[in-house]
Symmetry: C2
Subunit: 369 residues, 2 copies
Amino acid sequence: MTSDRPRPTSSPTISEVAAAAGVGRATVARSLGGYGSVSEPTRAHVLAVAARLGYRANTLARSMTTGVTKTLGVVLADIANPFFAGVLRGLSDTAKREGYDLLVLSTNEKLAEEQAAVGLLLDKQVDGLVIASAATAGDDLSHLLVARERNTPLVLIDRLVSGFDADSVVINNREAAREAVTTMIDAGHTRIGFVWGPVTVQPAEDLGTMRSVIAGALWSDGERLSGYLDALLEAGIEFDTSLVTHVLKTEGQAARAVSGMLALAQPPTAFFTTETDATVGTLRALRTRGLRYPDDVSLLGFDDTPWAAVMDPPLTMVAQPMQEVGARAAAIVIGRIKGDDSDVVHDVLPARLVQRHSVQHRAVRALPL
Amino acid sequence: MTSDRPRPTSSPTISEVAAAAGVGRATVARSLGGYGSVSEPTRAHVLAVAARLGYRANTLARSMTTGVTKTLGVVLADIANPFFAGVLRGLSDTAKREGYDLLVLSTNEKLAEEQAAVGLLLDKQVDGLVIASAATAGDDLSHLLVARERNTPLVLIDRLVSGFDADSVVINNREAAREAVTTMIDAGHTRIGFVWGPVTVQPAEDLGTMRSVIAGALWSDGERLSGYLDALLEAGIEFDTSLVTHVLKTEGQAARAVSGMLALAQPPTAFFTTETDATVGTLRALRTRGLRYPDDVSLLGFDDTPWAAVMDPPLTMVAQPMQEVGARAAAIVIGRIKGDDSDVVHDVLPARLVQRHSVQHRAVRALPL
DNA sequence: ATCAATATTGATACCGGTATCAGACGATAG
DNA sequence: CTATCGTCTGATACCGGTATCAATATTGAT
């Protein structure tokens, strides 16, 4: 098989068009590029010849001299995750409108892959970068610094990274979480499970350790947990470490952790889930234990989806403006490319709590001590 | 703002490294590229200098001479669609493993955008293309032909395009649909709504027109409808055009169309939905009419998702091996790039019917005539 | 008709790599 | 001590565009 490969037949070059048209290369370039001055008959002739030959400019060569690739590099955790898919959609739409293409790489939340990705994109001379970084406090940020040093505009999305100040577009995770949890507290819940806390080898022992765990977590994760704590604190509810998961972030692990909480002497009466798969895992756990929402347990989670509205009963959820995040990020990075050197921008887009019917008011009744 | 832009400071070039190391450019290239022969001390010295200067190769320049970009172009309808997101994940994973990056463009199912996308990608000298084409019978296929003419490997995914034979990776849509519909027929259903038939200005009048509509539809859509017809025919059930939607493909339109069917004198007792949003729209319609599945109406649809398993009751669905489609497509196109010139391959991956509980056996009872 | 000003054009250097080629050097053999 | 061969090295021609510059052609003015 691997025999004489027919190497990609590049389309005719400017030189070939020039030869065919009987003019110099520069004249062809001018006619095609529409700059400089070319007599009308010559231009028409050149254009005709170019069309006849099916001439197409080699963007690589152009980028070579102009230093502009009209390409944006996008680095995110997982394209298949509905949140990132939505963000990508937003990025893609506005990038296209501005004449930019997207080179997309995913990192699976691994810093090493992120570093490699940024390196690759920089080597490919992207004009700008949009990154959902996996970096947490204390991590090696050299790849981001290299981008900065090269003056390649970079905007952070979804997560801020401590120790690296750059343009960013994120959601108000903390406030959104606080609002969501408060909704449940207002409905009379005091024991609220938090599904998908930061991954640790063992549960944090107290609020103090939890705070430090948060400091070392992925920004968005930390913020959501902080919002949860804010709500509890505000309501004077004591924090119980056994109600925060610390397992790996998979649907299965979420289900197991929830199942475990449900088996507690004083099980939670509500769950706050921070991501789609956490929500699905929680639902699965309820199902296997024969519990129903909102009667047995209330539910409220991040990342609204069309499915949530057709569940029975429909789920109350936090809707993130995913496409908007992408659109804003693209607009900012393209603005920078165009030369906007105004102050660093930190966009915080509001999440929206979509009230449906998975949170039920809980009559305060005497609990077994 | 748009003042003196700090143009991207490109990292040191080979010439600069050469100058700094006090050797010729070729020697640097050899040391870095690890080809030709360089004395050990020189190589070490060059490498050290390169590292000190933070040298990074400019991939563009390399591609310029080698004619290889290590980039694949991906053209699909909508990145935010879970199916395509899954496919992209598969593409991305195997492409990365082989050292390729992905340039992703979406077309919103518009042929014009697809043509522009392919042109752009070709201009950017991608080494290969993966396309979920929006082209239907009779459409202008020149963009695909141009790719072929340039010897840029191309593989079609999800949809075949009539009149253009190329490597392809698709799902056995027709058989999967037939099997799904047969499942419902076996459960006693004879009036089965088909949600998201091809878009037409008005319903097809009879089987004949429907067949011709299918011929002019998007391949995958046509196949699924054909599978539906196959199942009916096989069971000797008469085809009723009023049970096939012809509306635009949005969740809202699906809901309206389903609502309309439900208002028929002889409403369907089951629905077969061909896409996620069609399923959600159908569920929404049931909800607004106060109907429940599977008691009042049975449901079975394409594109299994984690949500389907936690619905109450869980939905019976057709699961497509999305990532596998992407992985196979990437493998094929990369193989072609490497020179594999064996016969055209037409991969057909099997969809899997995931039995859950949204299809209920229907006791045959006398219907009002 | 002559000359300056302007329009049109081709030649050419460059971008940052790769790849070829020939010269310089050292070592070994005779 | 010289011939021969292999190793190591630098110079240089590409790749296909862009951009500058000088040369030529054209035009209008006097």
